[in-house]
């Protein structure tokens, strides 16, 4: 699997809508297309007028799998970006610990196949 970032700016009118969408996203990934995509994490975007957006990290076999999941779960997709690796700062509150040179706590590359 490869890692992708997905930008969903202003995808929802409210956080309530977003919560419903998350539930659908989870259900679709589990029941309809099992094994196709794996949700890793999301950042909630604070948009204007109470609207909600996200930037999500997923693992998938292809961008088409990301789009298929989004289409079935009714999630907007503004842009899909391939992720080449992860750098975690030592200041990251979720830093799992350990130090690397240059203030970087952890560096990983997504595995190609799983």
């Amino acid at each position: 699997m490869k890692e992708y970032g997905i930008l969903r700016r202003r995808g929802w009118r409210s956080y309530t809508d977003l919560a419903a969408a998350l539930e659908r996203a989870d259900r679709v990934a589990r029941d309809q297309i099992p094994g196709d995509v794996r949700w890793i994490r999301s950042y909630l975007l604070d948009e204007d007028r109470g609207e909600a957006g996200t930037f999500c990290i997923y693992r998938a076999f292809s961008p088409e799998a990301i789009r298929r999941h989004a289409a079935r779960a009714g999630l907007p997709v503004e842009e899909i970006i391939a992720v080449a690796g992860t750098l975690i700062s030592s200041h990251d509150p979720q830093n799992p610990g350990g130090w690397l040179p240059g203030g970087v706590a952890q560096a990983t590359q997504p595995t190609k196949e799983e």
Binding site: R9, R10, R13, P34, P63, A71, A73, G74, E79, I80
Partner: protein, 875 residues
């Protein structure tokens, strides 16, 4: 399995409710369902199936199961079902039926007798059973039954044939997927406390797996230690039996999935005396005629613990007992299994060959290939001609199942032996096979060489069907090499000889090849031969040739962008194949269907089709190219990542696959360069393909290449008649005329790109808007940049409000359709209201239902209200 405190299954009320609802639909509304029930080993699939199938008085179930043989019985579970049904169906099953024939008969039987069907352990299914399941999925809605199909999903790889099948199935109300979850901590707690076992530890070790939990509970002393693994739990439980009881367990364990009582009796000395205690301990179960383990996990745990020397003895006893009683031919696969485990190579050869022939007759080609391989492994002492013929059979079965590398290896051995045996006819025919297989492997060079070698060898012998077939094959190979005159000449020879010796396959194939070549040469005679080939093939019942002719008819239409005709022909081809045991053919043509969808602007559909091709682990190289091109173009237009991964692979494959494949790849790469702003690279990408395209009559592919070059600023003279009309308009500077033609043809993206190139600002803006509507983000950005450069201001980019402001992500068109669904209109009325075809409306309606996650139109309207989706019409 009785994982219950009060006689009922724990935490299974939800799946049982779904199954009960499907049963209602079958009984009251005559609407059938195929339910896939999945979960890890030991999760309780069988227990659930049993509880459900006995839940209603007066309803019975037919059961069939796949077994954990290395090479399973062809159509095993369906044959089980047919035998229980008795009568006409059982008679059919005894005679090596094809999956299609069996499913047809089963459907008739189920309409008559109103019973349920349970098919267990499909992760072990043979290829023919999976084909049958595919057919069943298509028909089940009209059959008043519920078919419950269970499989293990732990360790089921992405490329597993069952996973591939599940991916292909449509989303339809008649197909339901259920997945069983492990028991919760609360449930495990309840069970553990009744037995005085520490629940936290039990839950951690078993992770809530019901089978594991029951094994531990059955084996554990009060307050005792919880075993590390499920295997340990099974062995601990078995250890409580005496030595004779253990020997009986071993005996039953080597006969998957269940042993007939007469067989155990024949194998046993005094072991049957302990049957009672084995049954009482709960390790074994009997159903009157067979005895087996309570679960496959237990069987495997015991089988693996049998000492090797004992195992050989037991298999020997099973072999001799079964062969003494082999009145049923279906036992060949079992006999081969025991013969191999017993190390009796003579018996392996005999039964594996028999099992292979039987599997081939029943279209379980993967299993047939494996049986022939097994016979060859044990048959090193066989005479050369018998080995050669086994290799030929294995190669053919591998070819049918897309195991191209294995097919080549076996065919090479066969050809070597045929040369040694001085059998030039079979050797020559073997070289012709090697040519076809090399082409499938994407190795054009070897394909050409072997095709020539076959003709050389066979021309020295009296002319017969082999030579006719070799001519026909060489003609195809010359076509792939873009050698039109060579194709026509060899094709003519093939037709003449095939006609004379009555070799109908070669005749129909050659007619199709010559027709395609004439089409490329721009001959007015093109088309007639194709029609004749189809008629010949239909008349003679040559199914593969019928599929090929229908495919060619579709591709001919696609090449001139007659999408209506192309889609109709290719759909007819899929329909034909799906009903006739040509299971993988639809996959071969999915790439072209994807291309058609892409060009018509149905991008999600295009992606789905192309992905099914690319995810198939063994699809022949030439079929991958088209799918890779579709995916590459789609990614490039949308601005999705991994564009060059697909287009580089396409180029690599096309270079080895012959000149014919190069042009579409070059056009796609030129477009991707243009979208990426690398216009300087377009000349290099297209030079070779343009040189080829100039030499033949296809004005569409030539036009496509030349237009991309012009968009890259390459100024070359093009005769307007040398390219198809929309390209001629654009090259002549009439962008609006080009766009109008594209719209008439049904290509929205091409129309938008043509408009966007117009010097007229309004036309260009309309092109930009259309690109955004299509979701061509990168293309829109590229065009916007150019327009800004030209001084055109106020260009809006970004997703449209209508799409981003409804929670289910419906498109504007889908919102229109939903509004009319909510008004209670039928599809034909919606079509009339929105000026769309009814087929398009069908498409939108199923998309709306899918996105809303509902199964009916009424529910869609309710869901729309709940999500506060605006359902007033937008226009």
């Amino acid at each position: 399995m009785t994982i219950s405190s009060a006689g009922e299954l724990l935490e299974r009320s939800e799946p049982l409710a779904v199954l009960a609802e499907r049963l209602d639909a079958a009984q009251r509304a005559d609407r059938g369902t195929l339910v896939f029930l999945s979960g890890e080993a030991g999760i309780g699939k069988t227990a659930l199936a049993r509880a459900w199938s006995t839940s209603r008085p007066g309803i019975s179930a037919l059961w069939g199961a796949c077994e954990a043989l290395e090479t399973p019985r062809p159509l095993g579970p369906l044959v089980d079902v047919a035998e229980q049904a008795a009568g006409e169906l059982a008679r059919l099953a005894a005679g090596d039926p094809s999956p299609a024939a069996l499913v047809r008969a089963l459907a008739i039987e189920l309409r008559r007798r109103r019973t349920l069907v349970v098919l267990e352990d499909l992760h072990w299914a043979d290829g023919a059973t999976l084909d049958a399941l595919r057919l069943l999925a298509r028909r089940v809605e009209g059959v008043p039954t519920v078919v419950l199909a269970t499989y293990r999903d732990d360790g089921l790889e992405r490329t597993h044939p069952l996973r591939v099948l599940l991916g292909e199935l449509p989303i339809a109300p008649s197909i339901v997927r259920l997945r069983l979850q492990p028991l919760s901590l609360a449930a495990v707690q309840q069970l553990a406390e009744e037995r005085g076992i520490e629940p936290g530890n039990l839950y951690r070790r078993t992770r809530g797996n019901p089978f594991f939990v029951t094994e531990v509970l059955a084996a554990a002393e009060r307050g005792g230690v919880v075993p590390e693994t499920v295997r340990d739990a099974v062995l601990a439980r078995a250890a409580r039996l005496d030595a004779v009881g253990r020997r009986l367990l071993d005996m039953v364990a080597i006969v998957p999935p269940r042993a007939e009582l007469w067989l155990v009796e024949a194998m046993a000395d005094d072991e049957l005396n302990s049957l009672e205690s084995c049954l009482a301990s709960g390790m074994l179960e009997d159903d009157g005629s067979t005895v087996g383990f309570r679960h496959e996990i237990a069987r495997v745990a015991i089988e693996n613990a049998v000492p090797p020397e004992v195992r050989v003895t037991l298999h020997r006893r099973a072999l001799s007992a079964l062969s003494a009683a082999a009145d049923r031919r279906s036992d060949a696969a079992r006999l081969a299994h025991h013969a191999e485990a017993a190390g009796d190579s003579e018996a392996v050869v005999r039964y594996a060959r028999l099992a292979g022939e039987r599997a081939a007759a029943m279209r379980a080609h993967r299993e047939a290939a494996a049986q022939f391989a097994r016979a060859l492994r044990s048959g090193s002492g066989l005479p050369a001609d018998q080995r050669a013929s086994l290799f030929e059979s294995r190669s053919y079965e591998c070819y049918l199942t897309d195991q191209v590398e294995e097919a080549i290896a076996a065919r090479r051995e066969a050809v070597r032996l045929r040369h040694e045996l001085h059998d030039p006819l079979r050797a020559g025919d073997g070289h012709r096979w090697l040519s076809l297989l090399a082409w499938m492997a994407g190795d054009n060079h070897s394909a050409q060489a072997e095709a020539r070698r076959a003709v050389e060898l066979l021309e020295r012998e009296p002319a017969g069907p082999e030579l006719a077939t070799a001519y026909s094959n060489l003609a195809v190979m010359r076509l792939f090499a873009y050698d039109i005159s060579g194709t026509l000449e060899l094709g003519a020879r093939a037709i003449e000889l095939a006609d004379r010796v009555g070799e109908l396959r070669a005749l129909t194939d050659a007619l199709m090849t010559v027709d395609t070549a004439e089409l490329m040469a721009g001959s007015p005679a093109a088309g007639a031969r194709l029609q004749r080939a189809l008629e010949l093939a239909l008349e003679a019942g040559l199914e593969e040739q019928v599929a090929r002719a229908r495919t060619n008819l579709g591709l001919t239409a696609l090449a001139v962008r007659d999408y209506k005709l192309a889609d109709r022909q290719l759909a007819a081809c899929v329909e034909y194949c799906s009903e006739r045991d040509l299971g993988t053919w639809p996959l071969y043509i999915a790439g072209w269907r994807a291309r058609s969808q892409l060009e018509q602007g149905h991008w999600d559909a295009a992606a789905e089709l192309a992905t099914t091709v690319l995810e198939h682990p063994r699809i022949a190289a030439p079929f991958r190219i088209t799918a890779l091109v579709v995916i590459g173009r789609l990614r490039a237009r949308r601005g999705d990542p991994d564009v060059w991964a697909s287009l580089d692979e396409a180029l690599e494959l096309a270079r080895n696959a012959g000149e014919l494949e190069l042009a579409p790849v070059a056009a796609a790469r030129a477009e991707a360069r243009w979208l990426g702003g690398e216009t300087a690279a377009i000349a290099d990408e297209t030079d070779a393909a343009v040189a080829c395209a100039r030499a033949h009559a296809d004005t569409w592919i030539r036009g496509e290449l030349l237009v991309w070059r012009r968009r890259a600023g390459i100024d070359e003279v093009v005769e307007p008649t040398a390219v198809a009309a929309p390209f001629a308009h654009e090259l002549g500077g009439d962008y609006r005329a080009a766009a109008a033609l594209w719209e008439g043809i049904g290509c929205p993206y091409e129309a938008a790109i043509a408009r966007a190139g117009s010097p007229d600002a309004r036309t260009a803006r309309a092109g930009l808007a259309a690109l955004q509507e299509l979701g061509a983000r990168r293309a829109a950005a590229r065009v916007a940049r150019t327009l800004r450069h030209r001084g055109i201001r106020d260009l809006q980019l970004g997703p449209r409000k209508a799409t981003s402001h409804n929670p289910a992500g419906l498109t504007a068109r889908e919102l229109d359709v939903l509004a009319l669904i909510a008004e209670g209109l039928r599809n034909s009325e919606i079509a009339a209201r929105l000026f769309l075809s009814e087929k398009t409306v069908d498409h939108h309606v199923s998309s709306v239902l899918r996105k809303l996650g509902v199964s009916s139109r009424t529910k869609a309207a309710t869901e729309a209200t709940r999500l506060s989706i605006p359902t007033h019409s937008q226009r």
